[in-house]
């Protein structure tokens, strides 16, 4: 037995050494294997449709009829289409009216919920999420009834106070405010909790040290809270940009399911316009061109927001 320990008898082990590089090879590849399912699915359901959209956008493409290559003609038409510019305006208007107040409300609420002396803190934190977990359709029904022109609670109240009825969905401003109100209602809780989680990670002694140095709550907020929250603010701003610019369900449901969202397209967003063209009028090519434009707009706006929000709290 001891003979096996002599150097000369190591030779039979050779096959084992031969397999080692193979093992290493597999070990190196294994992690890719573990993450592969996601990327394969992403490739099939994410990247491929995305690239295919770019391809379809170059065609006059009737899904059940002819398709002819038209190059950039769809984009030229898009530039001249007043409906596109109208939808772009509406999208930005709704996005700004919904995102800015939403994130500010969330920031303030997170600050309040983070107060160490708050009673029933968990109850309030959970309650924040209720609008978020309620289905959009249910929320839309409630909002549509609250703001209904003839029989809505809000208008009933206005009448009681001696004012006339307001038809929110009939004007651009009214419909944008109503849609934004619904978006804010759904999403403020989600953002509040993100901010809250981040706030709780800020060391208390920072505040104590600042207080000792004579900094008031406002100064503390701008010099400690805001800089500490910067990463999560960047995240929420980008997510709200992506979500806000693609807004579809809320205007669709609040306008009784009309893809034009009102008689003068007063609240038609880019996504609704895309859907109207692609699936209402069977113009897949034109719809895809709108999709490509929307994609480009979101990338640009998200990038600008990233630049702006990552500078937040750095100065002063």
């Amino acid at each position: 037995m001891s003979a096996t320990l002599t150097p000369g008898t190591l030779r039979p082990v050779k096959p084992a050494t031969a397999t080692r590089p193979v093992e290493r090879h597999w070990e190196r590849l294994a992690p890719y294997g573990y993450v592969a399912p996601f990327y394969v699915l992403f490739l099939v359901f994410g990247l491929f449709p995305l690239l295919f959209t770019f391809y379809v956008a170059l065609f006059d493409w009737n899904p059940i009829g002819d398709r002819t290559f038209v190059g950039l003609e769809n984009f030229r038409q898009l530039g001249e289409d007043p409906r596109f510019w109208n939808a772009l305006r509406n999208t930005f208007s709704i996005w700004i009216i919904s995102t800015v107040p939403q994130l500010i409300i969330a920031l303030i609420l997170a600050q309040v919920l983070n107060n160490a002396f708050l009673r029933l803190a968990n109850f309030f934190r959970m309650a924040m999420l209720l609008p978020y977990i309620t289905s959009v359709a249910a929320t839309a029904i409630v909002f549509a009834q609250l703001f209904n022109r003839d029989y809505g609670l809000l208008n009933w109240f206005l009448e009681l106070l001696g004012f006339g009825h307001v038809d929110f969905m009939s004007t651009a401003v009214g419909s944008h405010v109503l849609i934004s109100a619904m978006v804010i209602w759904r999403w403020f809780g989600y953002n509040t909790l993100l901010y809250l989680a981040s706030l709780q990670a800020v060391p208390r002694d920072l505040y104590e040290a600042a207080a000792v140095d004579g900094a008031g709550p406002v100064k503390q907020f701008f010099h400690i809270t805001l800089p500490s929250l910067r990463p999560v603010i960047v995240f929420t701003v980008i997510m709200s940009t992506i979500g806000g610019l693609q807004i579809f369900t809320e205007p669709l449901l609040l306008s009784n399911g009309t893809l034009t969202c009102g008689t003068a397209r007063q609240c038609q967003t880019l996504s609704l316009f895309l859907f109207e063209q692609g699936f209402g009028s069977f113009k897949f090519g034109y719809g895809s061109a709108i999709g490509v434009a929307l994609f480009a707009i979101i990338v640009i706006v998200a990038f600008i927001n990233f630049l702006l929000s990552s500078r937040l709290g750095k100065k002063g």
Binding site: N62, P63, I64, G65, D66, D81, P82, R83, S135, V136, A137, A140, I141, A144, Q145, N148, R149, D150, Y151, D167, S170, T171, F248, T249, L252, L253, S255, N256, G257, T258, L259, T260, G262, T263, A264, Q266, E276, F279, G280, S281, F282
Partner: protein, 435 residues
């Protein structure tokens, strides 16, 4: 029976149920995905076929009935969504997915499919030639391509009438008897004048809205509508379209409209509260009135529509070209859409037959509806259908009618200037269809 409104992309139409259906649609391509993955194993069985229908029209009953008539056949019925969603699902399926063997298409969605008849089985190859004379000529013409292929067999039509509240008419000092009321409005001008009398007497609105109750009905009476007989787009030169549009504007200017767009929540509520006394009602809308205003039973009646004839909606059964089992689907069509079965379906569910041979049958003529003061609904609605002539539809029917209705609704509800409405509409149509 309740054909879902054919203008779903236009005139707004949502009950709570449809909001839910729409949210599913908004959730992503779930609809398409499930549509594409429909069972494919059954394709070889000659006694099984797949049937896509839409919600609200209750095809389950017909399928159940078919089971009695042909027990060896299995029908796999799927209600894809509302009519519009079903048409969208069908579009995706035709573009490259698993298609059903039989599909129900609403009249309003049909012109888009007619543009490419190659997507469907030409039913003349299965024997449609022999039965096409059973159906109302203009209804059949809608499903016949210019090159002669027959794409669909009509299951029902939406003959028009005016549903009115007898109690509200009496309160305004107007007649309540349906013959006397019909005599009040041989023309649309008379109809608007009657509305003015009503509004002056009561201070209330006479009709729900001008777009669907006046314009849409008036334009649908034209022998030529948005397209000429040879398929040219003529909405902007056809005097009937312009006259109907102006009638709509007149009704708005006369102040007789309640500014309630059809099928909205406010419209439903207005119906129950008596916010308007009359509404243009196709045969399938009686169910909507019944469910929206159950407390008004017996207070309604039905008069003939100004101009005497009209149609709104209806549906067709078609067989996709790539159907696995077209013969089984065709057998279903010929059995369930035979004149005898259509009459039975009218008696059971109120669905208006497309087969004129039934229009004289005592079962149909003597059918009355207690909710509508025992009005002979079958007689009134079939007469409206018979008065129509064949007319040509085109690819962009929906877009054209959407913009015209939007322009009128804009004037009525959103305060858009009336004198610019026609120009707005035609400009928007030009943008939409490029012609």
């Amino acid at each position: 029976m309740n054909t879902v409104p054919p203008l779903s992309s236009t005139a707004s139409a949502l009950s709570r149920r449809r909001v839910l259906a729409l949210s599913a649609l908004a959730g992503g391509a779930a609809l398409t995905a499930s549509a594409c993955s429909g069972g494919s194993s059954a394709s070889s069985d000659p006694n099984t076929f797949e049937f896509w229908s839409f919600t609200g029209i209750n095809q389950k009953d017909s399928v159940e009935e078919y089971k009695q008539l042909a027990p060896e056949v299995t029908v796999k019925l799927t209600e894809v969504g509302n009519a519009q969603e079903t048409a969208q699902g069908l579009t995706t399926a035709l573009a490259g997915g698993k298609v059903p063997d039989l599909v129900l298409i609403q009249a309003g969605d049909l012109p888009k499919f007619m543009k490419n008849p190659g997507n469907f089985v030409d039913l003349t190859t299965l024997g449609a030639d022999d039965i096409q004379d059973d159906y109302v000529e203009w209804v059949m013409a809608q499903a016949t391509a210019q090159s002669g292929e027959i794409i669909g067999i009509p299951t029902d039509v939406g003959g028009m009438g005016i549903a009115y509240r007898t109690d509200l008419m009496a309160a305004a000092g107007l007649p309540t008897n349906r013959d006397e009321v019909s005599a009040l409005w041989p023309t649309w001008e008379d109809f608007i004048a009657t509305g003015q009398r009503y509004t002056e007497a009561t201070g209330m609105a006479f009709i729900d809205n001008a777009a669907t109750t006046v314009f849409l009905q008036a334009v649908s009476q034209g022998e030529e509508q948005y397209y000429s007989a040879d398929g040219e787009v003529v909405y902007d030169t056809n005097p009937i379209v312009r006259e109907s549009f102006d009638l709509g504007l007149q009704a708005i200017a006369a102040g007789i409209t309640a500014k309630l767009e059809s099928f909205t929540d406010g419209w439903n509520a207005g119906m129950a509260k008596g916010a308007f006394a009359a509404v243009a009602a196709p045969s399938w809308m009686l169910g909507s009135i019944r469910s929206a205003a159950p407390d008004t039973a017996g207070k309604w009646d039905i008069a003939t529509i100004p101009g005497g004839s009209g149609n709104w909606g209806g549906s067709y059964l078609a067989i996709p070209a790539r159907a696995a089992n077209p013969q089984a689907a065709w057998d279903y069509i010929t059995t369930m859409q035979s004149p005898e079965q259509q009459l039975q379906h009218f008696i059971d569910a109120g669905s208006l037959p497309t087969t004129p041979v039934n229009y004289d049958k005592p079962e149909l003529v003597n059918h009355t509806d207690p909710f509508f003061s025992d009005a002979p609904t079958g007689k009134i609605f079939t007469q409206a259908v018979l008065g129509l002539e064949p007319f040509v539809n085109g690819e962009y029917n929906t877009e054209i009618s959407t913009e015209l209705l939007n322009a009128l609704n804009g004037v009525e509800g959103d305060g858009a200037p009336a004198d610019a409405a026609w120009d707005t509409a035609t400009k928007n149509i030009k943008t939409a269809i490029g012609a």
